[in-house]
Amino acid sequence: MVATYDTKTDYKVIGNSPIRHDGVDKVTGRAIYGGDVKAPGLIWGDVLRSPHAHARIKSIDTSAAEAMDGVFAVLTHGDFPQTDDKTIDAGEGTVNLRRGQSNVMADKKVHYKGHVVAAVAAVDRNTAQVAAQAIKVEYEVLPAISDVDAAMAEGAPQILDGLVGDHLGESVENTNVARVFRHEFGNVDDAFANSDLVIERTVSMSMVHQGYIEPHNATAIWGQDDNLTVWSSTQGSFGVRSQVAGLLHHPESKIKVNYVEIGGGFGGKTVVYLAPIAALLSRKAGGRPVKLVMDRSSVFEATGPAPGGKIRMKIGVNKDGKIQAADTDLMLEAGGFPGSAVGAAAICVFACYNLPVSRITGYDVLVNKPKSAAYRAPGSPQASFAIETVIDEICDELGFDKIQFRLDNAAHEGTRRGDGVQFIRVGLEECLVAAKESDHWNSPLGDAPAGKKRGRGIASAYWMNGGGKSTCDLMLQDDGTVMLNEGSADIGGTRTSIAMQAAEVLGIPVEDFHPSIPDTESIGFTGVTGGSRTTYTTGLAAYNAAQKLVVELKSRVADLWETEASNVEFADGVFSANGDSIGIQELAGKLDPTGGPATATASVNLAEAGNAYGVQICDLEVDLETGKTDVVRYTAIQDVGKAVHPQYAEGQIQGGVVQGLGWALNEEYFITDDGAMANRSFLDYRMPTSLDMPMIDTIMVEVPNPLHPYGVRGIGEVPICPPLSAAAQAIKEAVGKPFYELPVKPGRILEAQND
């Protein structure tokens, strides 16, 4: 049973924007991030990475490194315990332990350039670097496979030894396609035959990186009693614990993961890379604390990217403006091991539309690039680019208003999503209406200066949001303040958005809360900060804990006043019964005779999350001589359910938009013929800077999520999706040519003009 709520509307705390509790720490340099961890006797680790994108390891000679002064330990894949093919949950996606081990440190083959082959621990960072480079590896170099076409070609060399693909239920050997799956409703061929217009296009996009500013890091101490202590920049301490436990065959109860602040993740810090290496190095170095920090080129070459790939999209429509059917093939790059975001892409691809007939076929394709990881609404941006590109062409072709067409075909409560799930109350229509009525949509584009042209694009997108497991503890203090412990890594102000929900229940000012995020020994299991789940799920845990605390306090009040708890009322922070009343903060100091400290804890495991929709409008200007684009105006409309902390809610939307614009206009993995990433620095992998972007306007629509007492929906991910198509359609309008390949970089714009 899924609980649903009648949302309240009169709030005292929710909907305000208090200063975040960890704010002063973060503007004064006092906050401790993973790289800032110190421990007595700390030594440094470093790794040796493969210079080849695809090769068999013939031999590894570690003798020179081992003989070096100041070296304490050297590690290769053989030092890892044997694992089997067990699959565990890693928060946003799953990890097959045997392949996970091979990704952390290569076994017999390297699957991408930058794949870790060996590691060392030494007295300082420089010595560790020199020692790692002294390890000699002999490779048999194999042809590098860099895109889905090459990977799926007849006779392509197999990247993962022994992979047996699951192709629509059939076992297929000697393949790079780990999985083919399908969601199908109705007969698409018949529906296309009966459509007035059918448009089919194939779009493609490059791999892109999450681009968090803080590189991966880990520090570990493997005690002589086999108690393992870990610090690591992560979206979820419990995810680190379960992965380290699985990869190293070590009991979870003997692993303590300390919370450290995280310098951005966007999905890319749900997977472990360095923590198991630090742990094994520490064990080999006699329990010395070992720290590793990844360099930036390795972050690009060996962690996290979002899949590139190819998407075929076919849509049939009638002249009355109703979509008849849609059919898509989603081919996404998993990277060097199985597991791209294609499953989520399939859920999202048609979710903005009410389709009577649809077919979705997904392909999870291995290529010799880093194993892809979650990146903000994983799979949905790519899918949104594909469908919105074709929808835009349909509107152009048949002269439909681009918002009205979307309204006429919009998904709403009861609509069947492409994978068969029926929607509860969702807010896409409200977003489209808000877009239609927006100042931006109703303002002229304005004139471009000489030599430039302007265009406007609009696109919509969907993300299902996440639920899962979270825990929150509340401890009312004698002075009426509240200690709040919760397990969610705080990447964007969630200590405060979670505390606000408990504050709303208790009628205590949120400034009187001290929210903190303890280590894995000191709080119940809480999933990763990802999937737009944190303010919704951990917030609900805080709400439930606060409700439990109210129940507890009612019985304490009943004790004090010698009455029955059922006679005690609680409203707006005040307990009352039989004409007596007392404020909750005053009560806090009078609890000793009633049994001492009042605490409450709540854990939740939410199966559903309530869905998010966004619609965005992009005006940009194209320099016809250079192909350079400048976004001149941008409006992001989103159903946020209820904005708990409007400033940080808006910040999530603005940040997502700018990441999406980077993806649309500029960012890509530029892969050489031998499979290397040529642009592996922030200079060459050019993310948007402050100079590239205008202010990002937002319109927050609030259609309450029926699954949350305050109507909260996850908000962080969906805003990254629409910019890919919104920007591409704006460029199409400006230069009069469509673009089917991302990024729409200056060179592509110039080429299109010269065609």
């Binding site: 803080e214 590189p215 360099d295 910040g651 993310m687 948007p688 800077t689 972007m693």
Partner: protein, 158 residues
């Protein structure tokens, strides 16, 4: 470089108004000198090649990427980091404005942005939006999309 590398360099420098006498390995960046030798970890490592600005500090009033400066180079100079911005009287107006405008999410780039923005406002009392965006273009933020950072700097001007 190994532990057997050339002898350390004697450096006398003023960091956030306090004089320090240090023995710095000749290869050690100012970033690592601050973080590892002094223990001032407010200055962050993002890329180690001068492209993200997370390690921005001020040296004799000029902002630099401390990963591109050697610790040995700051002998006799005045270094200011994010830890030196607040005073016993309170936060610097930029720090306060970043809090009030929600100009940080994960916070890893924040120290660099604050030091860089201070470098601007110390010399130009009322820069335009375009000037602020140009000045801060050497500092990458992946969370905010820059909107609230620019607004916070504008607020600190007022």
């Amino acid at each position: 470089m190994t532990t057997n590398s050339p002898s350390k360099v004697h450096v006398t420098t003023t960091i956030n108004g306090q004089q320090h006498e240090l023995l710095v390995p000749p290869y050690m960046s100012l970033l690592d000198t601050l973080r590892e030798l002094i223990g001032l970890t407010g200055t962050k490592e993002g890329c180690l090649d001068g492209n993200c600005g997370a390690c921005t500090v001020s040296v004799d009033g000029r902002i630099v990427d401390s990963c591109l400066v050697l610790g040995a180079e700051v002998n006799g100079k005045n270094v200011n980091t994010v830890e030196g911005m607040a005073t016993p009287e309170g936060l610097h107006p930029l720090q306060q404005a970043f809090l009030e405008e929600a100009a940080l999410q994960c916070g890893i780039c924040t120290p660099g942005f604050l030091v860089a923005a201070k470098g601007l406002l110390d010399n130009e009392p009322s820069p335009s939006e375009g000037r602020i965006r140009h000045w801060l273009a050497g500092n990458l933020c992946r969370c905010t999309g820059y909107d609230k950072i620019v607004r916070a700097v504008q607020k600190a001007i007022d």
